[in-house]
């Protein structure tokens, strides 16, 4: 918003006139496009007829209650999948982030007073684990979530693991991807902290595990809270991929309903609107959290730059 005021001078009478005229023209063009390219063709096909919308908006329609019950069931399945995935990926993501920071700290460590042979083994071990975690992160960050989910769904049974409920394949697929993303968010949060935090912790004699647990991780969670909430939006959207493996979430339900009621466009508009409402609320929550955090940090001259979230949050 600040840009809008600095990019232009305060409008004078002429600029105001120009703005008004172009506003009128813009509205006319938008309305014309909406009417001729969207409303016209849809009306011609009878997409605004009550028989298509009735089950969705008319409580006296015979299908109304049943349909909304189905939609609620579908959304409940979506929300359950998303909630499980969020909890799981937060848990494993934190573990992975801690492990990676810890491995980095161990890599710097010099083993004084330790048997040189043992020290060499330890050093190779840390190096190897560090590489392993890095490869894990790169692979699962670079894979499409659909592919991960389908991989889990087709791959686990091929390995002889049968989880029974389709929900678990979806959740595991989502967790694999989001663990890595959340781990990267938290890790960049921890590494973005001022070096003094770690140095002070070292100075008062905390071990590196204690430093992470008591000093770095809580601050990283705080700073990265907006990015973590935006990741919730991504998880919720990705839960819709469950329909590809046949999990009965809202999109699957929608495809079933559409086969009976033959109101594709209406159903998808409604389902899309519900998604937008939920996710819009979540992103408002994220920006509210960001504002609150910015306010809380006013005492410091230079707040920690929250640049990473922008890059990560765009990762849909």
């Amino acid at each position: 918003m600040s840009q809008q005021t600095t990019l232009y001078d305060a409008p004078g009478p002429r600029a105001k006139r120009i703005t008004l005229i172009s506003s009128v023209i813009a509205v006319a063009v938008i309305l014309a496009v909406a009417y001729f390219l969207v409303y016209g063709p849809l009306d011609e096909r009878g997409e605004f007829a009550m028989e298509k919308w009735g089950p969705l908006i008319d409580p006296s329609n015979e299908n109304f209650t049943l349909l909304w019950q189905r939609i609620w069931q579908g959304f409940k399945a979506t929300l359950i999948g998303a909630a499980l995935a969020v909890v799981g990926s937060l848990f494993f993501g934190t573990l992975l982030a801690v492990a990676r920071v810890q491995l980095k700290a161990l890599g710097r460590r010099r083993y004084i007073g330790v048997n040189p042979g043992l020290a060499a083994v330890l050093r190779v071990l840390t190096r190897g684990l560090d590489w392993l975690s890095r490869i894990f992160v790169e692979v699962f960050r670079g894979l499409p979530v659909v592919i991960t989910i389908v991989f889990v769904w087709l791959g686990l049974p091929a390995l002889g693991v049968d989880l029974g409920n389709l929900l678990w394949y979806l959740v595991i697929g989502l967790i694999l991807y989001n663990t890595v993303v959340i781990a990267e968010i938290l890790r960049s949060g921890m590494e973005g902290l001022p070096a003094g935090q770690r140095e002070a912790a070292d100075a008062i004699g905390l071990s590196s595990g204690q430093t992470i647990r008591m000093i770095l991780l809580p601050q990283a969670f705080r700073i990265m809270l907006p990015a973590l909430i935006s990741q919730l939006v991504v998880v919720l959207k990705d839960t819709s991929l469950g329909f590809i493996i046949g999990y009965e979430e809202i999109l699957r339900v929608t495809t079933q309903v559409v086969q009976i009621l033959d109101n594709q466009i209406q159903m998808y508009v409604v389902v899309g609107a519900i998604y937008i409402l939920i996710n819009y609320g979540l992103s408002k929550l994220a920006s509210y959290a960001q504002k609150r955090l910015a306010r809380g940090r006013k005492t410091r001259a230079l707040p920690v730059e929250a640049e990473a979230p922008a890059a990560v949050a765009a990762d849909a």
Partner: protein, 235 residues
């Protein structure tokens, strides 16, 4: 691993089609995103409203639903996306010109969806330019276009390049969905049908698909990290 080697040509052609899809969608997304970003910073309120609602809708809706709308909604609007049969371009990308519209639908879905994120990346880039820059430019009497051309945009570009890159990487990954929405023969679709139709062993084929996507995403990600680090030093 022999299952991958036996079907190597399938993977190569699938990779090629996915690459085409990504290239065309990236161009589309950059175009749509730029136009919408201009709308969002324009002084005309109705255009700003269009930009804002576009971003709100497409950022919060699952890509799956966007694909549904492209596949069912566009035909309902009486469009087979024939405007994408651009002469010359359809010689280079033969899938653009064929009668089956799903490749074009996939491009539209991906462009519209990714465009919202491109728009936000560009806008955040413009917002990252300190207000004093634009004010100083106005103070020395630059016009609005000069202001954008010589002062704001060159700096905004630097701030936007990394977010833009991660948007494009996300788009490449999202393109895997196209194979489940009627596009035949892209990386995910051809791999999936190798498993389900031809009964090839699951794990090697899935690894093959994964490698195909990683070839596209990992180098881009590494490149992006480099750019980001260099920018961090330059500041």
């Amino acid at each position: 691993m022999s299952a991958v080697l036996d079907n190597f040509d399938v993977f190569v052609s699938g990779f090629w089609l996915t690459l085409q899809l990504c290239l065309l969608s990236a161009i589309g997304a950059l175009l749509v995103g730029t136009v919408m970003a201009i709308f969002r910073i324009s002084p005309v309120p109705p255009l700003r409203a269009v930009g804002t609602s576009y971003v709100t809708v497409f950022r919060n809706i699952p890509l799956t639903i966007v694909f549904f709308f492209a596949a069912f909604g566009l035909p309902a609007l009486g469009s087979n996306a024939n405007f994408l049969r651009i002469p010359g371009l359809d010689q280079l990308f033969t899938r653009l010109g064929i009668d089956l519209p799903y490749f074009r639908f996939a491009i539209i879905a991906l462009s519209l969806y990714t465009g919202a994120f491109v728009c936000e990346a560009l806008r955040s880039g413009i917002n990252a330019v300190p207000a004093g820059q634009a004010e100083a430019a106005r103070a020395i009497g630059l016009t609005f276009t000069q202001n954008l051309r010589y002062v704001v945009l060159p700096q905004a570009w630097k701030a936007a390049i990394v977010p833009l890159g991660s948007v494009i990487i996300a788009m490449i990954k999202n393109s895997a969905l196209a194979g489940f929405f009627g596009v035949i023969g892209d990386l995910s679709n051809s791999g999936y049908s190798l498993i389900t139709v031809q009964g090839e062993p699951t794990i090697p084929i899935m690894i093959g698909i994964s490698v195909g996507f990683l070839i596209m995403t990992v180098p881009l990600g590494i490149l992006l990290d480099r750019v980001e680090k260099r920018r961090a030093v330059a500041r």
